[in-house]
């Protein structure tokens, strides 16, 4: 085994609790495995706390009213159990941590009728910041690992700047908006407002359907489906196999 491969083994050991559970000693020096596990917990706690802070930054502004912030979940007992099972950067781990934060904030006094929608927005954003896992490439178009499209009951693109500026949210913003959240291979994050066609095409992209089938499901021409898939691919929302592009 090359030195580089051994280093990869060390990185996997630290990032993946299942690897540590299967092979407790791993490539670690005798007597040092407990310290390595401690370091793995340190890395994961730091990783998720950082991403919670970055992703739940709007709800953070209401901490005086709610008495809660998302990062607090990194310090609760439930999180210690999570650390002994998590795979850093996986979608499943991001869903678990994001779910803990969302539940904690959902249970707080609501600063406004838009509160739960805001938390859904921040949860979706968190999945992008905390997921480095890549989607599995197949011979059919598939979705990016963390990509998701959601309809909000409030006009989020107009609401967020007001929250940032500390201005009130009027009921005129209780208008539906559809947002697509994604992350590129290089780690660039996107939140884009999508029209009904792009939304349909994204939902029809399930890793099993061909471009023709996606077009039929979305009710558009094959050419339009192909163009939209290309656009979605550019923001990491879908993965297009070479022969389908």
């Amino acid at each position: 085994m090359s030195d580089r491969a051994v280093q990869d083994e060390v990185i996997r050991y630290l990032a993946d609790a299942k690897v540590r559970a299967q092979k407790p000693q791993g490539p670690i020096c005798a007597g040092e495995a407990a310290k390595a596990s401690q370091f793995a917990h340190f890395l994961a706690r730091r990783y998720y706390r950082d991403r919670l802070a970055r992703s739940f930054r709007y709800s953070h502004r209401f901490r005086r009213q709610t008495g809660r912030i998302a990062e607090e979940v990194a310090d609760v007992k439930e999180f210690d159990l999570f650390l002994s099972q998590c795979v850093m950067g996986s979608l499943e781990s991001a869903q678990q941590v994001g779910g803990m934060a969302r539940a904690r904030l959902c249970a707080a006094p609501e600063p406004g009728p838009w509160w739960h929608e805001l938390l859904e927005y921040e949860y979706a954003y968190f999945l992008q910041t905390a997921t480095t896992e890549r989607g599995v490439a197949t011979d059919r178009p598939s979705r990016g690992a963390s990509a998701l499209c959601r309809r909000f009951a409030w006009a989020m693109p107009e609401m967020l700047p007001l929250l940032r500026a500390g201005e009130p949210i009027g009921s005129d913003l209780r208008r539906e908006s559809a947002l697509l959240f994604s992350r590129t291979y290089a780690g660039r994050l996107f939140v884009v407002q999508v029209d009904a066609i792009a939304e349909s095409i994204f939902h029809a992209t399930d890793g099993a359907s061909t471009v023709d089938e996606i077009a039929a499901a979305a009710g558009v021409s094959v050419e339009q489906a192909r163009e939209t898939l290309q656009t979605l691919s550019g923001i990491g929302a879908v993965i297009i196999p070479d022969d389908a592009s």
Binding site: V6, V10, R12, P27, R45, R134
Partner: protein, 278 residues
């Protein structure tokens, strides 16, 4: 754009965008700023920061355990063109698996082996040549030992600097932590490193961490012991040009930032005289 101080030691800190206005209004005793991230598109203060302070490129440019992509090299060159610092910095780290599937998202040292030494030498030369600026490399602490290491961290670094001619960015808290967890005397441990290659010193705070059950780096004021070790290193580093307080965190407050720089200036005997740039 101001030039880097040439006639004395430059004492600076990191650029924390949330403290930009405080830096602009009260940062007259901060000589330079290290840039850990590129300026955000919506960072309205950055153009004024760039006009006011000499900047050092201290971004993540790529892990030199592997060849940098053309994209990473171009990005490094663009950032250095923006900052125009006297040198660029990277770390002795290997935190991503080669296939990119796993990352630790935190500085993590490579195995100290002949193979990794060759990799770092080759890739560091390529980075410095491509960017056209001197490269300094920062030491990274380990918390546990791994099988397969063929030499000590100090030997790895000494041979790297001898072969590449790169400068040493010595991070004092990192070395203090490494000594602490190996139960070594910090001065004896640090004395094994090539201090004659030091160009820049990082000082910073440490705090107990719940997972590690002991100290680790934290965005707090530097400990007196860390500053004293920094001064001890400075006395043995004829090529030293800068001391930087290593604090980069959204949780950092302006008070802690200014107090930390002030403590560092005092420790290194740098007066509050008006900044003269060369």
């Amino acid at each position: 754009m101001p030039s880097f101080i040439a006639e004395r030691l430059s004492v600076g800190t990191f650029y924390n965008p949330h403290l930009a206005e405080a830096l602009l209004s009260e940062g007259e005793h901060i000589d330079h700023l290290s840039m850990a991230d590129p300026p955000a598109a919506d960072d309205a203060a950055f153009p004024r920061i760039r006009e006011r302070f000499p900047l050092l490129l201290h971004d993540y440019l790529g892990q030199l355990a592997d060849p940098l992509s053309d994209h990473a090299l171009e990005r490094a060159r663009r950032l250095e063109e923006l900052y125009r610092g006297p040198w660029i910095a990277e770390h002795f780290q290997c935190l991503h698996t080669e296939d990119g599937r796993y990352t630790l998202d935190y500085v993590f040292p490579p195995l100290y082996t002949e193979d990794f030494l060759r990799r770092f030498v080759t890739n560091a030369r390529r980075l410095a040549d491509f960017v056209g600026a001197p490269l300094v490399m920062e030491n990274i602490p380990g918390f546990f030992s791994v099988e397969h290491a063929q030499m000590s961290e100090a030997e790895f670094l000494r041979r790297f600097f001898e072969e590449t001619g790169c400068g040493f960015l010595i991070d004092v808290p990192h070395l203090w932590l490494a000594a602490h967890y190996q139960e070594r005397d910090p001065r004896a441990y640090i004395g094994e490193f090539p201090l004659d290659k030091v160009v820049e010193i990082h000082v910073g705070g440490v705090e107990d961490d719940r997972d590690l059950g002991g100290p680790w780096v934290a965005p707090t004021r530097p400990k007196r012991e860390i500053l004293e070790l920094g001064v001890w290193i400075a006395e043995r580093a004829p090529g030293l040009r800068a001391v930087t307080v290593d604090q980069f965190s959204p949780a950092l407050t302006a008070n802690i930032m200014f107090e930390s720089v002030e403590m560092t200036r005092e420790a290194f005997g740098v007066s509050k005289a008006e900044r003269k740039t060369a």
